[in-house]
């Protein structure tokens, strides 16, 4: 009886670097973590083996998709290896989902990588679960992905962290686009919020203008954004806040992509940096795994 019950439990396979997150998910989902072996051949090709058989079982591959290009084929191989031996359904739990930013051709001939990536990924997996995808001009993930998906909001976990860690917070969105996250977090925290205005002059060149902040001088500024990569937006926002005499802000982000010098520079301008663990990083302080598990549950257990 016990053996049958175990074989009925869904099986999670973690691509390299996702083992810890997959263990947390497995506990929350009453799932088993399977053993995935992978290595590079001397010629740079990837070897991959599912050492736990997923035959007849529901499977989720766990793979966050920051720096996505080298991760795509290993992910395709993991899904294919599961199907080869007769897995029932093969989903992807990607705490961070990539390629959502380029959603149109701004110049003639530019690839719409969000649509192209969604199409390529959707051919390999049956369903998708992720945290706060950077939807930009898309109304929902279904506008770009045709497979079933579950989108998990990080706002409750972020709000809980702020409530416990920050006294008298003033939530601040560094640009108009961040208003969608900041307004929800502010409501959950029961704190006021303001949104700054950003102009972008290049991948790494942004400028921020401030509204009147005088009435909030007794509050702790908390910058909230979904993605920090070059971190230029948050760095510039933190500098502008400090330039009018506010204290160094607490900086909170969902996805800690942090390229190059971004983290070091932001650190010098922030009281504290806190991110969720969708992308493993030194700044991770907010565990999002139980929220993601709750969102993925019905997709993972469905027949």
């Amino acid at each position: 009886m016990m053996a049958e019950k175990i074989a009925d439990r869904p099986l999670l396979f973690a691509l390299p670097g996702n083992e810890d997150f997959a263990s947390r998910l497995a506990s929350a989902l009453e799932a088993e973590t399977g053993e995935l072996e992978t290595r590079s051949f001397p010629d740079g090709e990837t070897y991959l083996r599912l050492a736990t058989s997923p035959a007849g079982r529901n499977v989720a591959i766990v793979c966050t998709l920051d720096r996505p290009d080298p991760k795509f084929l290993p992910l395709v191989f993991a899904a294919s290896a599961a199907r080869q031996v007769g897995a029932r359904r093969v989903g992807l739990i990607a705490p961070y989902l990539c390629y959502l930013r380029q959603d149109k051709s701004f110049q003639p001939g530019e690839v719409v990588s969000s649509a192209t990536f969604a199409r390529a990924l959707s051919r390999e997996i049956d369903w998708l679960a992720t945290v706060d995808p950077h939807l930009h001009r898309y109304g929902s993930l279904d506008a770009v992905y045709t497979i079933p998906s579950s989108v998990i909001a990080s706002a409750p976990a972020i709000a809980e962290w702020i409530r416990h860690m920050v006294e008298r917070p003033l939530l601040i969105g560094p640009d108009m686009e961040s208003e969608q996250w900041v307004s929800i977090v502010a409501k959950l925290v029961d704190a006021p919020y303001r949104v700054l205005r950003k102009e972008r002059f290049g991948d790494r060149d942004v400028r921020i203008s401030l509204p009147d902040m005088d009435e909030w001088r007794d509050r702790t500024p908390v910058l909230v954004d979904d993605i920090v990569s070059s971190a230029q937006t948050m760095i510039e926002a933190a500098r502008r806040l400090r330039s009018i005499g506010l204290p160094p802000p607490v900086c909170v982000a969902v996805h800690a992509l942090f390229a190059e010098e971004g983290f070091a520079t932001l650190r010098k301008n922030a009281a504290r940096i806190a991110t969720t663990n969708t992308v493993a990083h030194l700044s991770n302080a907010i565990d999002i795994s139980s929220s993601l598990a709750a969102g993925a549950r019905s997709l993972l257990h469905s027949r």
Copy 2:
């Protein structure tokens, strides 16, 4: 009239690192080279734009596929960008074609990456041209690829190089599998050949046994193989030849994958190393582009 003629010419787009090879192909094919822009965003995603419009034209993406994992999505993006604006047919010229080695599951759960990769690639392109794919247990490329393909033999170009560069050659294949290349090259050179026996104990551990070589002591040994990656097979073969008093061999390979220390160690054991330019490398001495152009011509020009 001139404008129409140019618009009828096929268009080649080179992924980074393939520009020189693409120019050579374009000259041989009466094709135009289009301008492809690509760069990395700070978050590690790829930006790609076809700055020359392929609308209504036949297109080939030129991308050799050594160290393939990070190259796959950019290749998919290039093909997709061409289709977005209405390219007629989109092919791939891959001087080196990857993922042909794992053609079965040796252990339960191992991905058959050759079949999985072929399936993923075939969804993105209309046809494929390559040089001496490492077919291993497959009888032909059609056993794994369903799209039309053209397979170009490097033997004539290699034979021509040996005829010009090596006096009284004795061609030697380092293992049984190499007999297919060595026998053809030997016939074209009009030289004798022998094949050694190899046993493999790991990715980087191979041992070679020698036949009786006494009658060939006045010949220059020329080792010929299709792929050198760790180069352990060729290094071990060269050492064994030298251990019985033969001079350092000339080492010829089709695909110069050369991982890590392989090239440096082989150099110490070889009179000379010569490879074709399917993979750009210091050892490239044999230009295969006109052979590849001849093989790709009908696929590129077809309607």
